[in-house]
């Protein structure tokens, strides 16, 4: 049943033939888990809350950063430093006090995912890295929940519905993650602020369609949006039973599965790569020069008596500074810039011994 306030609040839904009171009651009974309250998660959460989804779970370990506000529309300048999941729930409760929020200010891991997913009807992926995307897919398959997928890159977005009524899964589309050293994220490459708004809103629409049982979910198809050309293309995807089986086979030992290892984010170190612990011993060592390739505003800051900063745009003019008898260690945010600079120094300037912090400052201290 809807109370009087809800009748008024959801009137524009209820008067739609395809929705009616029945559709609105389905939304009210639904439990949706949103993974990540970032660029995609914010618009997803805003529309699901406005639409009257009864229970919304929000999981995000991260805190609001000033550089998030260009696209993460639930947050204000005063929220910088606060946990995203709690902060989003607080804001959303003001939008709709009829919705029940479950807040998880923690990381999604292979240890907590299955139990968490089991408590919901539908999962929405708003994460920002491959490790978590494969984890989300596998946990959705193992708990048999439909998964609304969205992903963004610069001016381009992808949307699909996975694991819906025996449809394809994320692994049927991308069976293996890309090589770790080649991956960059929004903080390295930039993203146009409205893009996650467009893609996240489409994810919310797919979720609402699935809950209400109206229209045709975007299952078996990948929708690709190009914001520069304002064009969409749709690509058909088939379910690959062998890929789905790989996930099903993980069930017994799921908690032991290491997605960072699978995605190559951690694992064996190459000769030029330094682990966190080795890197830590090199801080303040006078025989080492640590070169931070990041802009001054990037966090966390790196402090040490032997840390100097050379930003990317200055590299070409600063080549001499890399020529030294000391051990040179490059550091950036995710390891992408340090890898590029190391390659440049090796190939163009024959500097063979340059080291880098694997995974960059983003994983340092985690």
């Amino acid at each position: 049943m809807l109370n009087q306030e809800e009748h008024k609040r959801y009137n524009r839904h209820v008067i739609l033939d395809q929705v009616g009171l029945e559709g609105q009651l389905k939304l009210k009974a639904a439990k949706v888990l949103v993974i990540g309250a970032g660029g995609l998660g914010c618009p997803v959460l805003q529309y699901l809350t406005a639409a009257g989804v009864g229970t919304i779970g929000i999981i995000d370990f991260d805190t609001v950063d000033l550089s998030n506000l260009q696209r993460q529309i639930l947050f204000t300048t005063a929220d910088v430093g606060k946990n995203k999941a709690s902060c989003a729930a607080e804001r959303l409760q003001q939008l709709n006090d009829q919705v029940k929020f479950e807040v998880y200010p923690e990381r999604l891991t292979s240890t907590n995912a299955l139990e968490l997913f089991a408590a919901y009807d539908l999962i929405i992926d708003g994460t920002d890295n491959f490790s978590t995307r494969y984890l989300v897919n596998d946990a959705a398959v193992l708990t048999n929940k439909p998964l609304v997928y969205g992903s963004i890159y610069k001016f381009e977005g992808q949307v699909s519905v996975f694991n819906y009524e025996d449809g394809p899964t994320y692994r049927c589309l991308f069976p293996v993650p890309p090589k770790a050293g080649t991956i960059k994220n929004c903080s390295e490459i930039g993203v146009i602020g409205v893009l996650p708004g467009i893609i996240g809103t489409q994810q919310a629409n797919e979720a609402i369609k699935i809950i209400m049982g109206v229209g045709k979910p975007l299952s078996g198809k990948l929708l690709i949006y190009d914001a520069l050309q304002a064009s969409y293309i749709t690509v058909g995807i088939q379910r690959a039973e062998a890929e789905v089986q790989k996930t099903l086979d993980m069930k017994a030992n799921f908690a032991q599965h290491d997605y960072d290892l699978f995605c190559g984010v951690k694992g064996t170190l190459e000769a030029h790569e330094l682990s966190n612990s080795v890197f830590k011993t090199m801080l303040n060592d006078e025989l080492v020069r640590i070169i931070d390739l990041r802009e001054g505003w990037e966090e966390p800051q790196l402090d040490g008596s032997n840390v100097e900063r050379i930003i990317m745009s200055d590299i070409q003019n600063m080549i001499e500074r890399f020529k030294t008898d000391k051990t040179v260690v490059l550091v950036c945010q995710t390891g992408a810039r340090s890898n590029n600079v190391r390659q440049l120094l090796k190939q163009t300037h024959q500097l063979q011994e340059i080291k880098e912090l694997k995974g960059g400052m983003e994983q340092y201290g985690n």
């Binding site: 491959f130 589309l173 993650p177 890309p178 090589k179 994220n185 929004c186 690509v235």
Partner: protein
């Protein structure tokens, strides 16, 4: 036959163009197309991507035997 190629995501940064047409005298499977593209753009070797033919995702043994539209789809994970 004419291959009407569309590059997406970061693949565009390797190829420098988002669309191009390549004429091929021979039939080839998608494994062959990957080799052809790797020769044309050596930096593609380190990139991961899936291939769609006429708007359908296909596996590497799929044979291209006529003019078609091909989309080169990299995974990306931003959110």
């Amino acid at each position: 036959m004419m291959l009407d190629l569309k590059y997406l995501g970061r693949i565009v940064e390797v190829t420098g163009v988002s669309n191009e047409q390549i004429e091929s005298a021979n039939k080839m499977d998608l494994k062959g197309l990957r080799e052809l593209l790797n020769q044309r753009y050596p930096n593609l070797k380190s990139e991961s991507f899936q291939i769609a033919v006429n708007q359908e995702l296909k596996s590497d043994d799929y044979l291209i035997d006529r003019t078609c539209e091909i989309a080169i789809l990299p995974p990306f994970a931003g959110g």
